[in-house]
């Protein structure tokens, strides 16, 4: 697909909305709505070595207007202008949880919902944590919860964890990294 033209319809605090005219593989053209997003990083913070049988991980419980209540997530946030994904992961981890990572391992990168946004989230696991001070942003109302890995897997199975990036990062660790 090729971009023919783009028309910015909304400029916001977090997102912008464009209506792009796109040429499809068969030569036809049509409009596609596209939410432009700067990208983000998210991190699974391990309080114990990832190879332990049942290591503790920090999850946050955060009010989300989209969910009409609090949901479970891993620490995450948007890339600042010029900021790299690893620096963003480290910054968001310390801002949201009060912990700094001694080690950061890249997991994978996701397109959150490519039908209407170019948002990419870079996923990491963090280890060797040391405590610093938390600096929370004005619109983040969140609690920090250390939870054992077995409990987190049960929360995935029961449907208690619904956030897409959080599910991908946790199960990537379980299926790919922790597999023998």
């Amino acid at each position: 697909m090729a971009l023919v033209s783009t028309d910015r319809r909304y400029t916001g605090r977090v997102i912008n909305l464009d209506v792009d005219q796109v040429r499809f593989p068969d030569g036809a053209t049509g409009p596609l709505e596209m939410i432009r997003h700067p990208g983000a990083s998210a991190v699974v913070p391990f309080l114990d070595p990832m190879t332990d049988p049942d290591p503790r991980v920090i999850l946050i419980r955060q009010f989300r207007h989209a969910a009409e209540g609090p949901i479970w997530e891993i620490p995450a946030g948007r890339l600042e202008p010029g900021e790299g994904p690893e620096d963003c992961a480290n910054r968001e981890l310390s801002e949201e949880t009060g912990y700094e990572a001694g080690e950061l391992h890249r997991l994978t990168t996701i397109l959150t919902t490519p039908g209407f946004t170019d948002e990419r989230i870079h996923l990491y696991a963090a280890g060797v944590l040391s405590q610093v001070e938390a600096h929370r942003e004005w619109d983040e109302y969140l609690e920090v919860h250390p939870l054992p890995w077995s409990r987190i897997m049960a929360m995935i199975e029961s449907g208690e964890i619904v956030d897409g990036k959080t599910l991908v990062a946790l199960m990537f660790v379980q299926c790919i990294v922790r597999q023998p």
Copy 2:
């Protein structure tokens, strides 16, 4: 958080954009951009029994403007007005792949990216497939690929699969459903 007021800024083909005034837990109010979406279903179609050691699954390869090229996905699509998530999963499976499901198992439901949209995707695994005719939508340019489970797990590990819903559904089967 409580909704104080809402202002529709854009009405589109797939999505609508609202700027909501929201009251936060501390009593302050502020604006939040919210993409309203009707919701969707997505399905992991198993050509062989899920309990086989290396069952084949149908993935689709689809051009996505947001990815500036083709990406791997499971069959998926938006809920039509009044349509339930299971009916949507069955319809999208047959429209996109030409297969009908004899069995549908619910996996979980995700919020794709709750920071700026209320989009929920209901995830299923389908089995006992029988071939029917495919009816593709005008904007879907996709190929249908049966692939062995072991190959799909390798594609997750290597970062070849980047779509959020696809990663959650496949790893939910691997981590939760197929685990002993």
